[in-house]
C-alpha cells in the first residue's frame, strides 16, 4: 500500500490513544536505569556514589571531570553515553520486546511462548547493529558536520538567533539519521525473516517513509528537544546561578521525555510498517 499523510496521521492518533503500560514497560526499565545513574551522580560525595559513577566516567574518558561543580557541566555528555549504551545494548532486547508486545494486540500468539522468544532472539543482532550504526553516525555528525553547520548559521544570522538555529539544525540532523534506522527493529520482529533481510527491509522502509517518520519523531521528541536546548545552551547559567544539582533534575526530565518519545516513535513506526504492508 502506498504511504499517505492520512495513514501516518491515523497511526499517530492510534498510538496516542492506545498507550499501554505493558508495552511501555521495556522503555521504563531503560528510564529507570538512567534515573538511577542520575541519582548516583548527585551522590558523588559518598564513597558508593563515586564508586558507581567514577568507573563509568572513566570508561567514557571523562574522569578529569569528577570535580564539583564542573561535573554537572559534563553530566549531560556522560548521560548521553549512558543513554546510548542503554538504548543500544539492553535496547537490542527491550525495543523488540516492546514491538512484540505491541503486535500482540492483534496477534495473541505472540504474547506467549516460543514464537515470541525466537523472534526476540532473532531481532537482537539487527537491532544491536542498527543501534551501533545510529550512535556511530550521530557521533560522526556531531563531530564533523556540526561545527560547519553552526559556523554557517552564525554567518547567515547574528547571535543569538544564528547559534540557536544552528543548534536546531544539528539536532534535527540527528533525528534525520536515527529515523532512517527506526524500522530495522520493526522489520526484525516480523515473522519469517532473518537478520540480513531485517536490516535491508528496515533501511529500505526507513528511506521510503523518511519524511513522515521524521515529522512524527520530531513531534514526539519536541519536549525532549526543549529540555536539551535549555541544558546545552543555558547549562552554564544553571550551574552558576542556580544549584548545580538542578542539572540532574533537568536531565531526569529529559530522560523521561526521550523515553516516552521513543516509545511513541516505535509504536507509530510499528503500526505504519504493518499498514504500509497492507496488514491490519
Amino acid at each position: 500500500m502506498k504511504l499517505s499523510i492520512e495513514i501516518a496521521v491515523d497511526s499517530i492518533i492510534d498510538t496516542l490513544r492506545g498507550l499501554r503500560w505493558s508495552e511501555y514497560a521495556p522503555f521504563f526499565w531503560i528510564l529507570a536505569a538512567q534515573w538511577f545513574f542520575l541519582a548516583m551522580s548527585t551522590q558523588l560525595h559518598t564513597t558508593w556514589g563515586m564508586s558507581i559513577v567514577a568507573p563509568i566516567a572513566r570508561l567514557a574518558g571523562g574522569s578529569e571531570n569528577l570535580h564539583y561543580p564542573t561535573f554537572y557541566g559534563y553530566l549531560s555528555i556522560l548521560l548521553g553515553w549512558v543513554e546510548s549504551f542503554l538504548y543500544v545494548v539492553p535496547g537490542a532486547f527491550l525495543i523488540p520486546l516492546m514491538l512484540l508486545r505491541y503486535y500482540a494486540r492483534t496477534d495473541r500468539a505472540l504474547s506467549l511462548g516460543a514464537g515470541a522468544a525466537s523472534r526476540l532472539a532473532g531481532a537482537f543482532i539487527p537491532t544491536l547493529l542498527a543501534g551501533l550504526a545510529g550512535v556511530g553516525c550521530i557521533w560522526g555528525w556531531q563531530r564533523f558536520a556540526s561545527p560547519g553547520i553552526m559556523a554557517a548559521w552564525r554567518q547567515w544570522m547574528s547571535e543569538p538567533m544564528g547559534g540557536t538555529l544552528g543548534w536546531l539544525a544539528v539536532t534535527l540532523g540527528g533525528y534525520g539519521i536515527l529515523t532512517m534506522l527506526v524500522y530495522v527493529p520493526v522489520a526484525a520482529v516480523q515473522a519469517r525473516t532473518n537478520p540480513l533481510r531485517a536490516i535491508g527491509y528496515g533501511i529500505r522502509f526507513g528511506l521510503r517513509s523518511w519524511p513522515v517518520t521524521l515529522v512524527f519523531s520530531v513531534i514526539y521528541g519536541a519536549p525532549a528537544v526543549l529540555v536539551q536546548f535549555l541544558l546545552e545552551r543555558q547549562g552554564v547559567l544553571v550551574v552558576s546561578r542556580l544549584r548545580p544539582e538542578f542539572i540532574a533534575v533537568l536531565l531526569g526530565v529529559y530522560a523521561l521525555a526521550t523515553s516516552v518519545a521513543t516509545y511513541l516513535t516505535y509504536g507509530t513506526a510499528a503500526r505504519l510498517y504493518r499498514v504500509a504492508r497492507g496488514e491490519k
Binding site: P69, F93, F124
Partner: protein
C-alpha cells in the same frame, strides 16, 4: 545466545566497577570538600551582595562555613603516593588550603588575626608535603602577623618564604608573589618609619634578586627578576648598575615578544636615569612623559609623571612640576600609590609659587580625598609648618585644633589601618608643641592600646617620657621608660633608655 551476550556484558560492567572502586573513598572526600568550598563561596557571595557590609559576626559565621571544608577532609593525605591516588590527595589538600586561606582572610577582616595565624600554622604543618599549599599557608601567616601588628615576625616569615620557596615562572602578564616579597619588606619598614631599615632591606633585596640569576631560569622569569633588580638599583641610586640592567632587559624583551609589557619598565628606568644623571634633564623628562602616554594602563604611567614632576621640582622648575602633578590628578585620580602624594606635592608647589590660599585648600583636600594615605598625615602638618616658617605662631596654634580634629576623623574612619599610627604620632607632635600634657598622655595611652609593639610607639614612649619630665611628672616618665624596655628590649636605644631610667631613680 542472548543470555550469553547479556552475561558477558554484565561481567564486563561488574569488572569495570570493581576496577573503578579503587580510590573511590578518596575521590568522594575530594568531591565533598569541593562541594563545601563551593557552597561556602556562594554563601560569601550572597552575604557580600547584601545591602550592608557584613559585620564581624557575619564574617565569623562565613568563616565557620569555610572551616567545614577542612573538617570534611581530615588528613593525613597520601600526597607522595604515585599516580591518581597522589593527584587526588594533592587536589584535596589544595582545596582544604584554599578554604583555610578564605577562612583566614575572613578572620582578618573580622579583626581576629589570632585565628588567622592559628589556621596558617596548622595548615603549614598539615600541608608540609604539598609545596603549593604550604607556600599559601606561609603567605597567610604573613598577613596574620601584620594583622596582629607583629611586624618583626611578619618580616621574619617573609624572609623564610624567600629562603624556602624559589620564585616560579608565571604567565608573562603576571608574576609569582614571591618576587614581590622583598619589595613588601621594604615598604613595611618604610611604613614603620624605619627608613634606615628600609635601605638595608633594599640592599638585601638587590642581593637576593642577583642571587636568583645564578640558577638557570625561563626567559620570562629572568626578565621579571631583572626588572626587580632594575627597580632596586634605581631606588639605591646605583645608576651604572641600573643602566646595565635596563640594557640587558631591553635585549631580553627584544628576543621574547611576550615580554613587551616590560617596555614600560625599561623606558621608565632610562628616563629616570637620564633625567637625574644628565645636566639637562629635558630628554629624560620627555621619556618619562611618554611612558604615561604610551603605556597608559601600566602602573608605571602615573609613577613616571610623579618622577618627572619630582625631578623638575628639585631643579626649581615648579610650573612644569605643577603641570605634571595636575596631570596625575586628572588622569590617574584613583592611583592610591601616586595620586595622594601628587596632591600633597601640588599643594607644596603652589605654596612655593606664592599662591598660599590655593595651596592651603589643596593641602586640606588631601585628607578628604585620600584618607588612608600617609600624605593625609603630612598635609595638616605642612599647613602648620607654613605658619611657623612665616613666624605666624598664633595662626599655627589656632590651626592645631583643626589638625587634631582632622586626625581624629581619619582615625575614626579606619582605627586599625596601616596609617593610623602615623596619624597618632602627628597628634602627639601637635600636643607636645602646644605643651598640652593631657593630650600627650592620652595619645600615648591610645598608642599603647592600639599600636602596641609598633616602632612608632617606641619613639612616642621615649618622647612622652621626656615630655613628662618637662611637665614635672617623673613617675609617669619612669613608667613609660619601663614599658619601653619591656616591649622593645632589643631596640638599639635600649641602653640609653636604661640610663635615663636610672637617672630618674627607677
Amino acid at each position: 545466545m542472548v543470555r550469553h551476550i547479556l552475561r558477558t556484558l554484565l561481567a564486563a560492567l561488574a569488572a569495570s566497577l570493581v576496577v573503578g572502586c579503587g580510590g573511590g573513598a578518596e575521590r568522594a572526600t575530594l568531591y565533598r570538600a569541593e562541594k563545601l568550598l563551593y557552597e561556602a563561596r556562594k554563601a560569601e557571595e550572597q552575604q557580600r551582595l547584601g545591602t550592608t557590609e557584613p559585620d564581624s559576626t557575619a564574617l565569623m559565621n562565613l568563616r565557620a562555613i569555610f572551616l567545614k571544608v577542612g573538617k570534611s577532609a581530615p588528613g593525613p593525605h597520601a600526597v607522595t603516593a604515585a599516580g591518581e591516588a597522589g593527584e587526588v590527595a594533592r587536589a584535596t589538600i589544595r582545596t582544604v588550603g584554599v578554604a583555610a586561606a578564605s577562612g583566614a582572610r575572613l578572620a582578618l577582616a573580622a579583626r581576629r588575626a589570632d585565628l588567622a595565624l592559628e589556621a596558617a600554622e596548622r595548615l603549614q604543618t598539615e600541608a608540609a608535603s604539598d609545596t603549593v599549599t604550604a607556600r599559601q599557608a606561609a603567605f597567610m601567616a604573613v598577613a596574620a602577623y601584620q594583622g596582629l601588628r607583629r611586624y618583626e615576625d611578619a618580616i621574619s616569615q617573609m624572609k623564610r618564604i624567600l629562603v624556602t620557596y624559589p620564585p616560579l615562572p608565571a604567565p608573562p602578564t603576571s608574576e609569582d608573589p614571591v618576587l614581590g616579597i622583598p619589595g613588601a619588606i621594604v615598604s613595611l619598614r618604610r611604613n614603620l618609619g624605619d627608613e634606615e631599615g628600609a635601605g638595608r632591606e633594599l640592599r638585601s633585596a638587590l642581593e637576593y634578586f642577583t642571587g636568583l640569576l645564578d640558577r638557570p631560569m625561563a626567559p620570562e622569569l629572568e626578565a621579571q627578576v631583572r626588572a626587580r633588580i632594575l627597580r632596586a638599583s634605581l631606588e639605591l641610586n646605583q645608576t651604572d648598575r641600573a643602566l646595565q640592567e635596563a640594557n640587558t632587559l631591553e635585549r631580553l624583551v627584544g628576543e621574547t615578544p611576550e615580554l613587551r609589557h616590560l617596555l614600560a619598565e625599561i623606558a621608565f628606568a632610562k628616563g629616570k636615569l637620564k633625567a637625574t644623571v644628565e645636566r639637562d634633564p629635558s630628554e629624560g623628562i620627555g621619556i618619562l612623559d611618554r611612558v604615561s602616554t604610551d603605556f597608559p594602563t601600566s602602573p608605571l604611567a602615573p609613577r613616571s609623571l610623579l618622577e618627572a614632576a619630582s625631578i623638575l621640582e628639585q631643579r626649581g622648575q615648579t610650573a612644569n612640576a605643577r603641570e605634571r602633578y595636575e596631570a596625575i590628578l586628572r588622569r590617574f585620580p584613583n592611583s592610591q600609590e601616586v595620586a595622594p602624594l601628587a596632591l600633597y606635592r601640588l599643594g607644596m608647589v603652589q605654596e612655593k609659587m606664592g599662591d598660599w590660599v590655593v595651596a592651603k585648600s589643596t593641602l586640606e583636600m588631601v585628607p578628604l580625598r585620600y584618607p588612608r594615605s600617609s600624605a593625609a598625615a603630612e598635609a595638616p602638618m605642612a599647613v602648620i609648618h607654613h605658619y611657623m616658617n612665616e613666624g605666624r605662631k598664633t595662626a599655627a596654634q589656632l590651626y592645631f585644633a583643626k589638625a587634631i580634629t582632622t586626625y581624629r576623623q581619619l582615625i575614626v574612619r579606619d582605627s586599625s589601618g596601616q596609617v593610623a599610627p602615623l596619624f597618632r604620632v602627628k597628634m602627639f607632635q601637635i600636643f607636645a608643641a602646644a605643651g598640652d600634657s593631657t593630650g600627650v598622655y592620652s595619645i600615648t595611652e591610645e598608642m599603647l592600646r592600639n599600636d602596641s609593639r609598633h616602632p612608632y610607639t617606641a619613639q612616642i614612649l621615649v618622647q612622652a617620657a621626656r615630655a613628662s619630665i618637662g611637665y614635672g611628672n617623673s613617675q609617669r616618665a619612669a613608667a613609660y621608660l619601663r614599658r619601653f624596655l619591656r616591649d622593645y628590649p632589643k631596640s638599639p636605644v635600649a641602653g640609653q633608655v636604661k640610663r635615663e631610667l636610672q637617672n630618674l631613680g627607677g
